[in-house]
């Protein structure tokens, strides 16, 4: 069963699409080198829901358009997911607010969420500090 995903977000090439593309293209993600498993990500956008099955095999990541399977599930608004993968929203805080639903193997979810970047501004602060320190 391979349902075709026609959600608008998937065709737009938004932050989420870019994020998945880069994750796959990176070839190997060291933070996931001990992780094996599949994670179903359901992203809701109005009436539509897009489904991605993330397969993690010791650092290698593949993303499939598939609406079933997965030892763990993350479900939230696509807009929130876009913001999380851009470092504009924090996943743990969103979970506590009830904006994310989780299921299954939480160790897998936490391993995946760790990859999300921090806020851009914080990286700028660090760069400035580095420059100051090197003087």
């Amino acid at each position: 069963m391979e349902p075709v995903d026609k959600s608008a977000g998937a065709l737009n090439g938004d932050a989420t699409d870019n994020y998945f593309r880069e994750l796959v293209a990176a070839g190997e993600e060291p933070l996931l080198r001990e992780t094996v498993g599949t994670l179903l990500i359901n992203l809701v956008e109005g009436e539509q829901t897009s489904h991605s099955l993330v397969k993690i095999d010791k650092g290698k990541v593949a993303v499939l358009r598939r609406a079933s399977g997965g030892e763990a599930i993350i479900q939230c608004e696509r807009d929130l997911f876009n913001k999380m993968v851009e470092g504009r929203k924090n996943a743990m805080a969103a979970l506590l607010r009830g904006e994310i639903s989780l299921g299954g193997n939480l160790a897998l979810v936490s391993a995946f969420v760790r990859l999300f970047p921090g806020p851009l501004q914080s990286q700028k602060t660090f760069m400035e500090r580095e420059i100051k320190r090197s003087r």
Binding site: P30, G87, G98, G103, L106, G118, P119, T125
Partner: protein, 701 residues
């Protein structure tokens, strides 16, 4: 407990009530049912015929259950009551409570029994700081249950109270019309269930979803105590303290949602029943010879949450080990940064220290291989992110200036780091013990690199860095005219020159030059630091010294357990025994449960240790202190596949046998007999604050 409040808990869920079992909390009052840092019941008051009840006695059965024996009455005079009420409560995803009413007369009685119920859904931090709520409350009734809920945007928390007996439920409580036959009884079972994202999570394999009965928890506690080494001793107080420590450590365990069915120590009961980097690591270290699984879970959980990016609000850096995790409303709406917060400068090097010590005891190289990347990232953090001044020392300065922590070392109160004249230094601050931890982390990281990861080049690099750090540290932190190490370097690199207990941690880390160790030991045992019970946080004579100041004069059992370990490391057996004797003697005054801290008064003056008033008891690292002191007294040191035993016991303790110590050797017994006259040791140091520099003793490592 001595504040008149009764506390029971299971992991992240706990109930605090008065001696009758009633809860009547205000926004600033710390009673209630709490789960994942949110209050789920703020009112739970039992009335019979419109009257409150009186407590005859309270029976603390176990840490997770209690029983209240109650009678109706005025509260001033005990009359021979015709009725008694037994209220039994056990924590389990909320709690369950059974009420039994006994009629002692030969007449039938008709009673109206009522429980008033309410909830403010306060965040733990709101209770502490009296903050206002921003969401909406709601309540609804269905036939046998009352549902209370609170909503702020998508944030939803609710409590459901139900009864197994027909009753009238209204929005403020439940009423029962009760008839009890002559010499008969009436019973009801009430169930209070909480709901939040953390509780709802359908966690695979977790025991949280299955109903945790009191019987299961009791079995679990028995197994826990049986699997720990057995202590035989001439000293009954020591045996009592040991048993108390094991039971309290059991109560302090909790399950992190990402590691179901595995337990790690929380920081303190009840307000700190959550993951703290520093507290969980130090407690796991103290408990290693007794319960090594705690260390394994701590390493895995903290590894899973290790920082991966820069986040100023959370003071997060790549490789940094978290400081504190919280699940309440303020974390959810980012009004507080604990989701999690990373502002700790010591947890990261200590993570590497625990990793190595754990492997030395257990031989579990598999875990060290699995967490290789995390360990390397922690070591990298020391040089790349913690050297804020570019001077080769670990220092701290919060980036979250609103809600971050100012002092990111264990002495985290505002005035803990001061100059002799009482002034406070600016930021960044490089406290001395952080350099010791960093040194130890590099030395231990090098051992792991060589033995487990087989990366010789990395091992050598770490050893070179460690040697360089030690050389610079002994030069830059040493106060020559006082013969001790400054507590910190300030933002200009100048000495923050007070004499503090921090120098004891330096011995533990091994960063102290052999030639300076004797002077440090003399200070630790001298009259300015040593009170007779233990080493004070800040020395008598310093401007900010206050015997009941949180980090500026009190004696901390946990601090002393590491200082004693440090003294042993440099061969000061008698001195270590003297500290152990003082702290263990103090424990007797608290039925074996050491408080977080006690007053830094002279032992001969007060004759008993004056407890510092804190909200948390037991505190994890105070609970762990007697365990580490036992290890230190017996001189237990894993070497290869063997456990070295080199006892140095005070004569007041007599014979000590620790049986079935688990480790890579299987199980081993250790024996010792007290031969050290600690009074003599004490006399030797009276009136002596510093001493000459040569030492006949040699570090063990």
């Amino acid at each position: 407990m001595n504040d008149g409040l009764v506390k029971i808990l299971d992991g992240n869920t706990f109930v605090v009530s008065d001696a009758c079992g009633d809860i009547e909390a205000s926004m600033t009052d710390p009673t209630g049912l709490f789960s994942y840092d949110t209050r789920f019941l703020s009112k739970w008051v039992l009335n019979v015929n419109g009257q409150r009840l009186n407590a005859l006695s309270t029976d603390d059965l176990q840490y997770f259950e209690t029983r209240f024996f109650l009678v109706p009455g005025t509260g001033t005079v005990y009359v021979d009551a015709d009725l008694s009420v037994i209220r039994s409560r056990a924590v389990a995803n909320g709690f369950s409570e059974s009420l039994v009413i006994l009629n002692h007369s030969s007449e039938q009685v008709e009673l109206s029994v009522r429980i008033d119920i309410d909830c403010d859904f306060a965040d733990l931090f709101e209770v502490k700081d009296a903050l206002k709520k921003k969401g909406r409350y709601g309540r609804s009734v269905d036939d046998q249950a009352l549902l209370l809920h609170y909503q702020r945007e998508t944030f939803l928390r609710s409590t459901r109270i139900s009864s197994n007996v027909a009753c009238q439920v209204d929005e403020h409580g439940m009423s029962f019309d009760v008839r009890v036959e002559p010499h008969g009884r009436w019973t009801v079972e009430l169930r209070v269930e909480v709901s939040s994202p953390m509780v709802e999570l359908p966690i695979r394999g977790s025991s949280q979803k299955t109903q945790r009965s009191a019987a299961t928890l009791a079995r679990n506690l028995d197994t826990w105590i049986e699997s720990a080494p057995r202590l035989e001793s001439d000293s009954d107080p020591l045996k009592i303290t040991y048993k108390r420590s094991l039971i309290d450590l059991a109560a302090l365990r909790f399950e992190a949602p990402i590691l179901p069915r595995q337990h790690l120590p929380a920081a303190g009961l009840p307000w700190f029943m959550t993951l703290f980097g520093r507290d969980s690591i130090l407690t796991s270290l103290q408990a290693l010879p007794f319960a090594p699984d705690l260390a394994a879970t701590t390493l895995r959980a903290l590894g899973a949450w290790q920082g991966t990016s820069l986040d100023d609000f959370r003071d997060e850096d790549p490789g940094r080990i978290l400081h504190e995790m919280r699940y309440g409303e303020l974390s959810a709406f980012e009004e507080r940064p604990q989701s999690p917060y990373y502002g700790s400068a010591d947890a990261t090097p200590l993570y590497v220290v625990l990793m190595d010590e754990y492997e030395k005891w257990t031989g579990d190289s598999k875990l060290v291989k699995r967490l290789e990347l995390e360990t390397r990232a922690a070591l990298k953090w020391i040089d790349k992110y913690a050297d804020l001044q570019g001077n080769g020392y670990v220092s701290y300065e919060r980036r979250n200036e609103k809600t971050g922590l100012e002092n990111q070392c264990w002495k985290d109160s505002w005035d803990s780091i001061s100059y002799k004249d009482g002034n406070l230094p600016g930021f960044p601050r490089a406290t001395c013990e952080l350099q010791g931890y960093a040194y130890d982390a590099k030395i231990r990281g090098a051992r792991l690199a060589r033995m487990i990861w087989h990366d010789l080049a990395y091992a050598e690099e770490l050893e070179r860095e460690a040697a360089d750090l030690k050389r610079r540290f002994n030069r830059d932190f040493w106060i020559d005219d006082g013969k001790y190490f400054a507590i910190a370097l300030d933002e200009e690199g100048r000495h923050v020159d007070t004499l503090t207990s921090n120098i004891g941690h330096l011995l533990w880390s091994g960063i102290v030059d052999k030639s300076k160790a004797k002077a440090i030991a003399s200070h630790l045992m001298g009259p300015r630091l040593f009170s007779g019970w233990g080493v004070r946080t800040l020395a008598v004579g310093e401007s900010r010294f206050n015997p009941i100041g949180y980090h500026v004069g009190t004696v901390w059992p946990f601090d002393n357990s590491f200082i004693a370990w440090g003294l042993r490391r440099y061969g000061f057996k008698e001195e270590a025994a003297r500290i152990a004797e003082g702290i263990l003697a103090a424990a007797q005054f608290f039925d074996g449960r050491l408080p977080e801290a006690f007053g830094g008064y002279e032992r001969s003056m007060t004759r008993y240790p004056v407890q510092y008033p804190t909200a948390c008891s037991p505190q994890a690292w105070s609970t762990g202190a007697p365990l580490l002191l036992l290890r230190t007294l017996l001189g237990l040191e894993p070497v290869g596949d063997h456990l070295l035993v080199d006892p140095g016991l005070p004569d007041s303790i007599g014979r000590v046998e620790l049986l079935d110590i688990p480790g890579r050797w299987g199980k081993i017994d250790a024996f010792g007999r007290g031969r050290i006259d600690t009074d003599r040791t004490a006399r030797r140091f009276r009136g002596k604050t510093s001493s000459t520099s040569s030492s006949a003793r040699h570090p063990r490592s």
